[in-house]
């Protein structure tokens, strides 16, 4: 099973669209063969170069949507187009997303080992360039993950994901396991790398505050359905769906400034 290259089951009409889904439905069956619908007929487009925020609470299906795009989950019906080759993902928990038995340098070389014919020295060269561009020193490469802080690990994850210049990067709650001050730094790094490399990013989060400044567009997901989508500023000022209002209120964002 090789992941990451999803065959397109249809071609969207605009060349600006990198990923697109029409009426995507995903359901799982539990041990008693009872099926629960996780994604319920989703229509969505992700445009080239944008940062699309995907907001929702647990059980809304936001992680399932990411896995569907990556081909890790099969969809029951609908049409899906993924125009990006080898999309990459950054996970929520930086403690489990790096192989504890390997050194950072080994982990970061792995995408090159698997996808390119570069020799060892060139690979090491590329790793050290990447380390510096995610704000880490060269000697981090000789460490094992458990010797690093949460923020450092998440930087390594970002660097590893970018090793082969993916067109699409999916970030699943990439900062929610980090301390607040570290959160700000990692978000800043992601923003600047996005500017530099121009990849498209799907940013999954439950935190509407973080998304406000970070995302170009936001999609609100509730129980497998998209209840609202739009530019953050317009949406926050004038939320249409009741659920959006509830989320904003819960986050302490009322229609005034905070």
């Amino acid at each position: 099973m090789s992941l990451g290259s999803v065959k397109a089951s249809y071609i969207p009409d605009s060349p600006d669209i990198l990923v697109s889904g029409r009426e995507i439905t995903v359901s799982f069956s539990d041990r008693n063969e009872k099926r629960t619908t996780v994604l319920d007929g989703l229509d969505f487009d992700i445009y080239r170069g944008e940062i699309l925020g995907l907001a929702g609470e647990s059980g809304s299906g936001k992680s399932t949507l990411a896995k569907t795009i990556l081909g890790m989950v099969k969809y029951d019906s609908g049409r899906l187009y993924v125009g990006a080759d080898k999309p990459q993902m950054i996970f929520q928990d930086p403690y489990s997303s790096l192989n504890p038995a390997k050194k950072i340098s080994w982990i970061m070389q792995e995408p090159l080992r698997l996808g390119t014919n570069l020799d060892k020295n060139t690979r090491k060269q590329k790793v050290s360039e990447m380390l510096s561009s995610v704000g880490l020193s060269d000697e981090i490469g000789d460490h094992k993950p458990n010797e690093l802080s949460g923020g450092q690990r998440q930087r390594v994850c970002i660097g590893t994901a970018l090793m082969r210049n993916p067109e699409l990067l999916i970030a699943d709650e990439p900062v929610s396991a980090l301390d607040v001050t570290v959160q700000a730094q990692v978000l800043e790094l992601m923003k600047s790398l996005h500017k530099k490399h121009g990849f498209t990013m799907l940013f999954i989060s439950h935190d509407l505050r973080t998304m406000y400044n970070f995302c170009d567009r936001i999609m609100i997901l509730q129980k497998g359905k998209i209840v609202e989508s739009g530019k953050p500023d317009e949406m926050y000022r004038n939320p249409k769906a009741e659920y959006t209002k509830l989320l904003l209120e819960s986050a302490g964002i009322s229609s005034g400034a905070v």
């Binding site: 609470e57 647990s58 301390d179 607040v180 001050t181 570290v182 959160q183 700000a184 439950h206 935190d207 509407l208 505050r209 973080t210 406000y212 400044n213 970070f214 500023d233 926050y236 000022r237 509830l246 989320l247 209120e249 819960s250 986050a251 302490g252 964002i253 229609s255 005034g256 400034a257 905070v258």
Partner: protein, 262 residues
């Protein structure tokens, strides 16, 4: 003044080198106050709270200073006397409602356990009281929940159960250790609302530990900012958020993502 912490210092002695996790922390908690204790991981905020709750291990740890509650020093109080206060005058709710409840014990028995330990009541009275408190934390169908097991409830319901179990003896102090971090945003707002109303209605003082500054700014009267085991700033919440003095406090406040709608 309900509780006074003076020069609290906590050292770990379970490694080769002793490690100071809390150093010279002093503050006080008044009756009916909601006091925020904020900081990042490793700031010592949870250690401080656990010291007040009497839940720090007795071995491999050195504690000095004083924690004065009703003219007694909780740090030196014999364990049997301390147990008399725990669950009666001082109650705690924890971060993970999923794991903080015993998975093999019915909710009812867990809610009324503090009554069993501290009050001389018949089983029927305990049950009536437990159901009354389950209703008070807005759990519909309290009778059914009384007979349930924790895994049959949602995260929000479990945290409500924790609050009912903590409040059942009408304690004077409630220590809330990141009580909403594990919950969804909308549920989080409901639990916060419940805690605020409990505070107003029953007059219980709440020590609210959190890493979430925007939450702290919304619900606490006073706040203590901790970093690396030290208090870096304390005072009225509104004043500190409007005009932080310490650099670290400034950095923390700056790290709250701003939402400025124009």
């Amino acid at each position: 003044m309900l509780l006074e912490v003076k020069d609290l210092t906590i050292e770990f002695h379970d490694h080769d080198r002793p490690e100071t996790v809390v150093e010279n922390v002093s503050f006080s908690l008044d009756k009916g106050e909601i006091l925020g204790l904020v900081g990042e991981s490793g700031s010592g905020k949870s250690m401080t709270a656990m010291a007040i709750a009497g839940l720090l291990p007795r071995k491999k740890m050195k504690k000095s200073g004083e924690i004065i509650f009703e003219e007694k020093n909780l740090l030196t109080l014999p364990r049997n006397d301390l147990r008399g206060l725990q669950g009666d005058e001082i109650a705690v709710i924890f971060q993970e409602p999923m794991t903080a409840l015993n998975p093999t014990m019915r909710i009812g028995r867990q809610v009324e356990e503090a009554l069993l330990l501290h009050r001389n009541m018949t089983a029927q009275d305990r049950k009536n009281r437990a159901i009354k408190y389950l209703k008070a934390v807005e759990l519909d169908d309290a009778e059914r929940i009384y007979e349930s097991y924790p895994h049959e409830l949602s995260g929000g319901q479990r945290q409500r159960v924790m609050i009912a179990a903590a409040m059942i003896n009408r304690p004077k102090i409630l220590i809330a250790d990141e009580p909403t971090t594990a919950l969804d945003v909308t549920v989080q707002a409901q639990i916060i609302d419940l805690l605020q109303r409990t505070n107003k209605k029953l007059g219980v003082a709440i020590l609210f530990i959190s890493h979430d500054l925007s939450l702290i700014s919304r619900i606490t009267h006073n706040v203590i900012v901790m970093q690396n085991g030290h208090i870096v700033e304390q005072g009225n919440t509104d004043e500190i958020f409007a005009n932080p003095q310490n650099d670290y406090t400034k950095k923390l406040i700056a790290a709250i993502p701003k939402v400025e709608l124009n």
